[in-house]
Symmetry: D3
Subunit: 131 residues, 6 copies
């Protein structure tokens, strides 16, 4: 029930197809997930978002799997079901094992717990943390 519907490859304009093609080539898959098919209604946002993600999620000082798990941590905390499902799938594809997933979840859970403890106890930042 995506707001504007989903644009399939066969119905896409050349500029949208170019993005779809790059997504499939970069990810070495033969399908496009709904996120891109929905964004395709706005080719400018589609292109900007894909190019940003492609650049950001590639290898750098952090490896792609670590980045994917950071993406998961944010999506999970934001209660974004779609994002959690899609980035968990991506992380697995990039090598996340069950043990890694379980440790990730333990950290995410603990972070959310202590974030609220800090808020409720109204804790001020230590001088030592102010750089």
């Amino acid at each position: 029930m995506a707001t504007l519907g989903l644009i399939e490859y066969k119905d896409a304009s050349p500029e949208v197809r170019a993005v779809y093609d790059d997504i499939m080539a970069t990810r070495k898959t033969d399908w496009i997930n709904n996120f891109w098919k929905a964004l395709a209604h706005d080719p400018v946002t589609l292109k900007r978002t894909w190019e940003s993600i492609k650049q950001i999620m590639g290898p750098g000082a952090l490896d792609p799997l670590t980045k994917e798990m950071i993406y998961m941590a944010v999506s999970i905390s934001n209660q974004c079901g779609y994002c959690t499902a899609s980035h968990t799938a991506s992380a697995r594809k990039k090598g996340m094992t069950n043990d890694m997933f379980k440790e990730l979840m333990a950290v995410v859970g603990m972070a959310n717990e202590t974030n609220s403890l800090v808020s409720g106890y109204q804790i001020e930042i230590d001088e030592q943390f102010r750089t």
Copy 2:
């Protein structure tokens, strides 16, 4: 202005001191940050939280630095200033470079952006992501 104030080492009960000692020994530091000094008003929560964090944040399938950056990602998305400051400091101590920080931030920013795009476009989970 912590709600219940902060409990310094010299004023702490033996059970609280035992936790403080373990924190300093584990982290190889000679001071305790405000989070623990505030939680010390509730020794049961102090002990439970510290023992959980100690266990969760140690080495495992994920290395401690990766865990610290996941902790940061959650804290940053939750707009928890204290947590961001303290876990950024911890991550640096565990080896996070400026380049790693900047890539982490780019991922966190992008994740928060696409989480809201997914929400607004009302995108349904692809069959392929339902395992």
Copy 3:
């Protein structure tokens, strides 16, 4: 599976029907959406919420469509699926075109991204912004 179920017009008390009637008259529709049918279990909250929304969402310094899009922006960022669906429908009825929707989404996405960048980079408010 609304917690307390939904109260249909035919089963509603006179005070609830009065609110339903006003909703339909104000919105020029012949049906009541689930939000109100669920709230109807608490007639005081139903009446207070409806009267507040009726007053707040009407024309003023901001036109009703702008208000509806602001409502959408909040609902989307909060990952509230129901609210996003219902206020997107309302905004369309008030004249939101596809182009307006796409621009709204680009802004919402960017705002969520930069909100987290600000949080992670721990940026202090400029003197110039403190009025």
Copy 4:
């Protein structure tokens, strides 16, 4: 640095003073906190918000202290510093002891932790919970 500044009693219009007077009488205090002084720029919202809060926070099926602690739980999870400070003060005035505060915080922390565990493990609602 409140956006529109704060309106003190001596500078307030009669309609704003009437709300201020009711706040002080209801709360048995002789001062008005900044929240109301800021909202006073919008007398309609001031009056609506105060009357709603007065009605909602009074005794009913839940006692006023329980309501205040529920208010705290939300404010803490939302990382709203002002709201946490003001409602913690209100709860203390209504009888919240240190022990009650500490138990409240333990529950809030645990809830935030498990909320994210549920999100990350992508757990579906049990048939038994669907009423």
Copy 5:
């Protein structure tokens, strides 16, 4: 579609069964809800989480029903559908009436409203609230 699937009692290891048994004995039920069956993939987190919840949610300075409603308030504000469904069911079992639920909701709604008013009006904490 839980990420790692659900572990039923008959397929559980002895350590997981021990936790399941304690959950059912403590709650006086004969079934285990999906949350625990998903967490069971990580027996350490399962055991830690259950023991923490068992300790935190038991009677103390706050009664178990009050704690359950605080848990609900957090889960509702976080838009966690599963958590809302499961803790609403728990609260009912512990005695939450429809009237209590409706008052809880009115408080939760008002808290979320005023949290954002405070944020938008950029209100500073009153000296009187700084203890």
Copy 6:
């Protein structure tokens, strides 16, 4: 106390200066706010973020002031103090009057309230809203 500090114009690299120059020219101001000075540590993110914002926030199907108010609504709901301060300043500069601000806030408050009511009452999406 920005994590990496702030980069002033005089200390900036040519590529950063080029972005600073474009920001000042576009906004017709002679100063750069802290957000950009912090991001400048990551010139790639600086450039990408500025170019995205410049493109997104310009005139289109929605006028720049409406976009700025949508940005505010998100920032306020996210409890991002810096973002609220800076985008409120921008909105004023683009013509937001006090009356518009007050109406914006009333809508943002109401949206956050009803978002949580929907969550707590566990309301399902009406068939009519599923397009």
